[in-house]
């Protein structure tokens, strides 16, 4: 049985314009990226479009990504999420009254994060369905605040190295179990940030909670996940 080539070897080949290597990276990671796109975006077309855009961009940026020795799958996931969130925000802004049906993508294994439902007249990303199965209406609202680092422009130096991502991938089931231990309000707020592309003030409006409480929930949720990740991946001492 042949051993799977490391993704970074494939990336180096992509940087040398090897289409077959890109095809192999696509086979390996497209389900992961598309699952994320389908979770964030309200239509299959939009999810497919962003998926393609991200891989086209990988083709263009592979030389620098390969040279820096950063994780290709981390780049894919982080870039794809940002692109999808930007698209979602644009959709909310440009079509505030259009109800969009969520995609019915065939899903595989994954943590218990619920699926998407939409209501007529509201734009509802999949994250708007809370973990206990009750859907939350996410009304479109104008974007506010300062543009956070467009992931497309996140410096490569901020990306993890492949070995750090391997630690996470090897312990993914355990890490998802840990995330599922978050108290419900914290999980809901975090989901609205991660998959709904909402800012903290928008999350507060969505949840009908005071901004200060939502801020505390988000910070507590992120700290919880970060600490669990350190503990599960055995990087705690190195990061204190």
């Amino acid at each position: 049985m042949s051993e799977e080539l490391p993704a970074e070897d494939l990336l180096a080949r992509v940087a040398r314009q090897d289409v077959a290597a890109l095809s192999e990276l696509y086979d390996r990671y497209a389900p992961r990226v598309y699952g994320l796109m389908a979770h964030i975006l309200p239509s299959r077309d939009a999810a497919e479009e962003i998926l393609q855009e991200v891989f086209v961009r990988l083709w263009s940026e592979s030389p620098s990504l390969s040279q820096e020795g950063r994780s290709v799958v981390a780049w894919l996931v982080v870039t794809a999420r940002e692109a999808a969130v930007e698209r979602l925000r644009a959709l909310r802004k440009n079509a505030p009254n259009v109800g969009l049906q969520g995609p019915s993508a065939k899903t595989e294994k994954g943590p218990d994060l619920g699926t998407r439902k939409s209501k007529a007249g509201v734009l509802v990303p999949s994250a708007a369905k809370s973990l206990d199965g009750k859907s939350e209406a996410m009304k479109p609202r104008p974007a506010d605040g300062v543009k956070s680092p467009a992931m497309g422009s996140v410096p490569l130096a901020w990306l993890p190295q492949p070995k750090e991502i391997t630690l996470i991938d090897d312990r993914l089931v355990l890490l998802h179990k840990a995330i599922n231990q978050l108290p419900k309000p914290q999980r809901q707020a975090l989901e609205l940030a991660v998959f709904g592309g909402l800012r903290e003030s928008e999350i507060a409006a969505e949840m009908g909670e005071p901004l200060g409480k939502v801020r505390s929930s988000l910070r507590a949720a992120v700290t919880f996940v970060k600490h669990r990740r350190r503990a599960v991946c055995g990087t705690w001492a190195a990061n204190i």
């Binding site: 393609q52 086209v56 981390a74 982080v78 899903t107 901020w158 890490l175």
Partner: protein
Amino acid sequence: MGCQHLEELYELWLLGALSEQGSLDLRDHLGRGCPHCLARLREATETVYLLGLASKPARPHPRVKSELLRHISRKAAPNR
């Protein structure tokens, strides 16, 4: 200025969830090239990656890959 007060903000900033003021504070601080924050940002990116994987994998239609590779092959062809 120290950066302990930013400790809980890196992930939320990367996620685009911070308010205007929170983003400005962090951006301002990062602009000074703080090495501690750079290390924390790397770690925060790992957490953002992990959170992104909380969605279930899904298989895109095979047409998506065909179109992608056709497009890429056209881009690659002039360089060969």
